[in-house]
Symmetry: C2
Subunit: 235 residues, 2 copies
DNA sequence: AATTTACTGATAGTATAGCTATCATTCTTG
DNA sequence: CAAGAATGATAGCTATACTATCAGTAAATT
């Protein structure tokens, strides 16, 4: 069966909708590979334009600057991931099983990266490694608050809220569902980064895949949900 | 009692030791406040020099570039924090109590920021909020591997290893001590960031202090250490 | 078929960032 | 007091991060 998942993006994420033209889609596709290859800091719109055979000015018509392009790509990733969560947990009875699926999604296990998953020919593998390295730079800025006001992080918050709800299905009395959700997302990412780049910060140095990371995330999550929470002390 | 904690830094972190001159110490002090005020991206050596009443070129004699200055400040913070861990857990019997102290240190609870803790007149409060927002940018780069080879992240790894060892004191069979240690450090930071800037990613939105964050970290840590780990499946 | 309109290409230009070099001056230290 | 080290002052160079203008072209409208 052929199908395409189309991700509809918030209007504040761009100046002109990159999804509405061939050039725009190319900016997104090539943006992913360039960010993936040389990283946010080294990337410039000039380099991107040269590689695409277009001009700097043309890219500026779509995105205010490279930070906004990054935010766009990261937002796209969160929306794609939330769709995957919905799709893959659909019809599952047990919240425990749902959570297990989610953890596997977070490390991109069980994702068919070659299929129609990546709409518009997006390279999901590269996007994932880009997100691991660059996603937090999207919000770790002085202008988070303004960006947040423009809903730029809504996809991240939506994903987090969805995971939090499933956590509450599993354990309705757990009081830190959202923090635990965001912790799992972030932990999945930087532990993967550490494993590859600063392995002594992890216990997965010698591992060749993410199996042990998955075990760690599982243990972290389910031990939290099983242990009763002491009443919060009033200070 | 008057005393000063002196933090000795790795030589690769600078071109000329900033601790060896008044100008150098001023670069560090004012660097902290400038990074704290306007963030990494907006900071330039020109602005820093202007604010200090010195010249751009003079700063370049101490630090290769602003990224290296950031790495230096962050490394300083990790070393300072490790010292605090050693100091505050010294003579404590129970590893449980040690871990509790560590968690409080991670959120800067129980630190006397006005005393001699901040060597060289370093503003610890500003440094802490700077670390929360910028520390991960120190390693989230294309050149992590080279930087790592030069031992730039050793202070972070040392702190992480120290915490991991105390985790193992508490629970010798726990197999993810280092990952849990780095997760606690990172989580303490970005949950604090989220609480202030993207509160819907946390459960502490309305809280006026870090008490609930501390509860979350405690629960995360101790539930992990209490729950037995299933044998890791061979795939 | 003619004509708006929408987009892209091509070129130019400005301000600032990021860095390097030089040399005079001051400040140490033997 | 001489030698060496650190800083100040100035200059300059290349790259980045944009903005502006206008011509060409393709698509949509009448």
């Amino acid at each position: 069966m052929e199908y395409t998942v189309h991700v509809r993006m918030n209007e504040h994420l761009f100046l002109r909708d990159p999804d509405g033209s061939e050039l725009g889609r190319k900016i997104v596709r090539e943006g992913i590979t360039l960010f993936g290859e040389i990283g946010l800091e080294e990337t410039t719109f000039r380099k991107l334009a040269d590689r695409m055979g277009t001009k700097e000015a043309s890219i500026y018509r779509y995105f205010e600057n490279k930070h906004r392009l990054l935010v766009y790509l990261v937002a796209w990733y969160w929306q794609w991931l939330e769709y995957q969560v919905v799709f893959q947990t659909n019809n599952l009875q047990s919240p425990h099983e749902k959570l297990d699926r989610i953890l596997r999604l977070l490390i991109m296990d069980g994702v068919n990266v070659t299929a129609g998953n990546g709409a518009d020919g997006v390279d999901l593998t590269t996007l994932h490694s880009l997100v691991i390295r660059e996603a937090s730079k999207a919000y770790l800025t002085r202008h988070v608050t303004e960006d947040n006001r423009q809903q730029l992080f809504k996809p991240y918050k939506d994903l987090c809220a969805r995971i939090a709800n499933i956590i509450l299905e599993q354990q309705p009395t757990y009081p830190f569902a959202r923090s635990l959700a965001s912790t799992l997302i972030e932990t999945a990412h930087y532990q993967a980064f550490f494993r590859q780049n600063l392995p002594s910060l992890t216990d997965f140095g010698t591992a060749k895949d993410e199996t042990q990371l998955l075990e760690f995330l599982r243990h972290l999550l389910f031990s939290s949900l099983e242990k009763p929470v002491h009443p919060v002390k009033v200070v």
